[in-house]
């Protein structure tokens, strides 16, 4: 799900075009909540997203942003007629908003997945559940991210 040219790469290219020469392509330190909304729009299209049915479990305080355990679940009977098709996870302040997309289906039996993610800052994580009837549901969770003491050089 990568944008072809990010806004920042475009600006850097434009600056170079203006003869500013040695402008270094800026890597975004972090994306914005608006970029997250755009990424969510790409998934849901014009459909509404309703809060509910999705449960997002994250520790409220993370010892290290490099490894934050995450569990996401969606209430669903997981039958062929009525099941979760996918779960999408987003962040608002990581360098890019997309974290992971899980593609499920009735064969999983239970819509519950765990993984470990990276969080660049204290921020809110959003999970969107996509059901077989085309509806979208969401949940959010806020995580405070602390930094390790005593790092190595670079």
């Amino acid at each position: 799900m990568n944008r072809e040219t990010s806004r920042r790469e475009f600006l850097a290219g434009a600056a170079a075009g203006l003869g500013l020469g040695a402008v270094i392509a800026v890597t975004p330190a972090h994306a914005t909540p608006q970029e997250m909304q755009d990424a969510i729009r790409k998934v849901v299209g014009s459909a509404p997203v309703t809060k509910g049915r999705v449960k997002l479990e994250l520790p409220p305080l993370s010892e290290n942003g490099n490894t934050v355990p995450l569990t996401v679940s969606v209430e669903s009977a997981m039958t062929p007629a009525d099941h979760v098709r996918a779960i999408h996870v987003f962040t608002e302040l990581n360098p890019q908003p997309e974290v992971v997309t899980f593609r499920l289906g009735p064969r999983v039996g239970r819509a519950r997945v765990s993984t470990r993610i990276r969080l660049a800052n204290t921020q809110t994580v959003t999970a969107i559940g996509e059901l077989s009837d085309g509806s979208f549901w969401s949940a959010t969770a806020a995580v405070v991210v602390t930094l390790a003491a005593c790092l190595e050089d670079a």
Binding site: E98, R110, S114, T115, R116
Partner: protein
């Protein structure tokens, strides 16, 4: 050389929901880090993880750099019949690892 840890109950009953845990070694280099001289370290991540059960896909994960190094997933599948669970990870720089686990369903 990547190695993987897979945890699947080897024996279960038909209709049971079994929990599967997978852990694979991979640095998941985000592409956002810079070296000491300021050069960007290129992205090198696993992009896709697929689990198939006797040839039918039952679970898939599309990964982005925000998945931690040594990606770990816990998911489930309904035990339908005895056979083989296949796990495949693919990613940047031609990364491709396939592992299997047998499952016996009574």
């Amino acid at each position: 050389m990547a190695n993987a840890l897979i945890n699947v109950p080897d024996r279960t009953r038909r209709g049971e929901i079994v929990e599967i845990k997978t852990l694979i070694s991979h640095p998941m280099e985000t592409g956002y880090r810079r070296s000491q001289i300021g050069a960007r370290i290129p992205r090198d991540i696993i992009r896709l993880f697929v689990c198939t059960y006797n040839g039918t896909e039952v679970f898939r994960a599309e990964l982005h750099p925000a998945i931690t190094a040594n990606p770990f997933f816990v998911f489930s599948t309904v035990a339908t019949e005895s056979g083989t669970l296949t796990f495949q990870w693919t990613g940047d720089n031609g990364f491709s690892v396939t592992e299997t686990a047998a499952i016996t369903v009574d």
